[in-house]
Symmetry: D3
Subunit: 160 residues, 6 copies
């Protein structure tokens, strides 16, 4: 079991993916933010009048998928061909779940793009709600599924 992001002297490198095949790749990452019941109602009741927290957070998440290689040091730049964020609401637990799907045709996967998109989306919800609730918590950010590349289709079985 070895890290691929270090050379054989242990130095961090951006690994060479130049010999890998260019295939269609997709990744779906998810994550949740747990808020107070009052805050949950304020978010969900978002209308044009009250402010569209989820709409702003969606834009932030999509934009963040494009900044991934600026943020994650050893991540390759990629030409994303699709990015979207869907929200799943959990009223019973006052949680908002963000699901970020990213696609590209490239030599390496888009897991980090999807995870970064979900994370920044949730951080944006935090930012917009922090005047109401300071004890919010971001939880369960993980890769749910990926396809494309040599390693093939992966589904996160821990969360099935």
């Amino acid at each position: 079991m070895e890290f691929t992001h270090f050379d054989n002297q242990g130095n961090a490198i951006m690994v060479d993916v130049g010999a890998k095949a260019e295939t269609m790749r997709e990744a779906i990452a998810v994550g949740k933010i747990k808020v107070s019941p009052d805050c949950y109602q304020a978010i969900i009741g978002g209308t044009a009048k009250k402010g569209d927290v989820l709409g702003v957070a969606r834009v932030a998440g999509i934009m963040a998928t494009k900044r991934t290689s600026d943020l994650i040091p050893l991540c390759h730049p990629l030409m994303i061909t699709k990015a979207e964020i869907q929200f799943v609401l959990h009223p019973e637990s006052s949680e908002i779940e963000a699901r970020c799907t990213v696609r590209c045709s490239g030599q390496t996967g888009v897991e980090m793009e999807a995870l970064t998109g979900a994370s920044v989306c949730l951080l944006t919800i935090y930012d917009m709600c922090k005047a109401i609730d300071r004890a919010m918590e971001i939880t369960a950010v993980y890769l749910q599924e990926k396809s494309g590349g040599k390693s093939g289709h992966f589904v996160n079985e821990v969360h099935l």
Copy 2:
């Protein structure tokens, strides 16, 4: 209970903080990544030879605190005067905890900077370990403490 990031028509705005006092502000955010026991050993055993995952992740997290207002749409630009990331190891649960502390003298708090630093730090660990373990999960990202500004000292009591 009202959002401060919308005007009275519900339009997203970057709120005016120009009238707020400039005070010394600090925020501490934490977050964890749960990895497999094998992956945990590989990270913790990181020496110059095997690759310093946490060293790279720390740099990524510190750099991300400086990009916060680029990522979070309604976040004000701030002149951070300090940023640091400390790791707390949880061998019993194979978790790495990142604690990001940010300070600035300004008119608005640095919660988002600390949360963004912790999040990008954990995403970087994910990136460097994903060849070993694809079922990692980022959890419990929250604001632990903040001080400065009108609202005074806040300690997250949920997590005491």
Copy 3:
């Protein structure tokens, strides 16, 4: 009549504002995009179901105010304390007008931030509507008003 962005050899410089007083500064810039009547209806009818073009464009414009000194070579970095974008609708001419207001306390004005915010907001409307209408046109982007600093209050009289 001399440019201030060049030294006396004609070399471009970021002029020294270090000796200028730090005052509260505000600028309001406006701009319009003219679209086809059908496109106008599609934008204005934007609801959660049909897609909120103006909501996305507003976020883009606000974020762009923070990137101004990255884009405009000789523009000073500034700590914006407020940014907002309001839309004025002109159904008779199928035009959407964006008004971007920016404030900061600093040694130089925020005209460029307001103009950049309005411009990127209008470009984002263009982007989201270009599948419907390719002959849109951005017009009348100018500084409407500014205050603060040695030169005092300015109101664009051409457009009164």
Copy 4:
């Protein structure tokens, strides 16, 4: 008539272009800035001694074409293979016209890159001249021509 930047629930998405053919694409965008006659003379008389406003603005516009997907939320990242800006002078009306041409081989067009390049170029002229003339106005920013992709050759007939 439907927007392509929203899914069928009306949520903003970066649309999937992964199935589109990779073709050579070109776009030409134009835009003008109207300045006072005195300011026009100062710009046009730009020599090494007096300061090369248009030279700086050209560089800014070219660099901005590369930042387009950072600025426009739902715009795909693209590998631009050419960017240039030409100026057309209109002494009779004291207007400077910027024409930005962008090319790439990709799955989606470069209209937004050309429009962003022209806009930032004009904003830079504004910035460098604002000490002389505060009533300048950016006008007539539009797509003049595009080629490549499924929709083929487009020429803006409104402006012929």
Copy 5:
């Protein structure tokens, strides 16, 4: 003799400058690029017709001073109040020398901004001339002088 960019466990940190006095700070950094005699002539002969290599490089250097804290991991963000680049020509050795002066009022110095500005300026000359000369060399990049802050006035004596 101890590094200030590590805590007492040796972890990289962005050091706390919050307690330092805000003073006017200036730094001057220099650097040279050695080119072939033919290339030198081509650069120096740069007129509007032949292309203004130094003009483009100056703009790039000034813009880079504003990106310093994005590039240098532990560098504090700063509000630069002045940035300029002057060229000193060395025809006898076919060298172009760039001198970058940066000023700000802040709690930490602007050495890195001046050094980054000079370096990116020289890299831009390299980029524009590499079709003519591939054996160019950037040399003698150092801090020539700085003032402000607790450590007072520094002049690089090695190079007097």
Copy 6:
């Protein structure tokens, strides 16, 4: 002998590489920083306790390769497939040499990416050591080797 980064009127352009073949390209750039003997010992003795200057500088250099087209005005954006930085130590002269290797499959070379990576790596060493030694000097930054593209294999003979 003509510059390729200007059109025939002498205007700066990002040259059209759309017709060039996509080939595997590699570039190796080197550069050195000369520090005082005491500073050299402090860097080389870097352990987890004392702080890993070279580890942080390596990360900064790798990240900078990805920002090259943001910094260098007429540089094309490229999809880097590999980036690494190796250090060669010169104890006799108290110099640290950084060697940056970059690869991509593209229509234009990666010289600027390698040179930018080496430069930012050395600037980061400077930043981390400037509290110990202010007279450091960056020297001998040049392209050592490149391959791929029409011009074929280049080795810098000046430095053999």
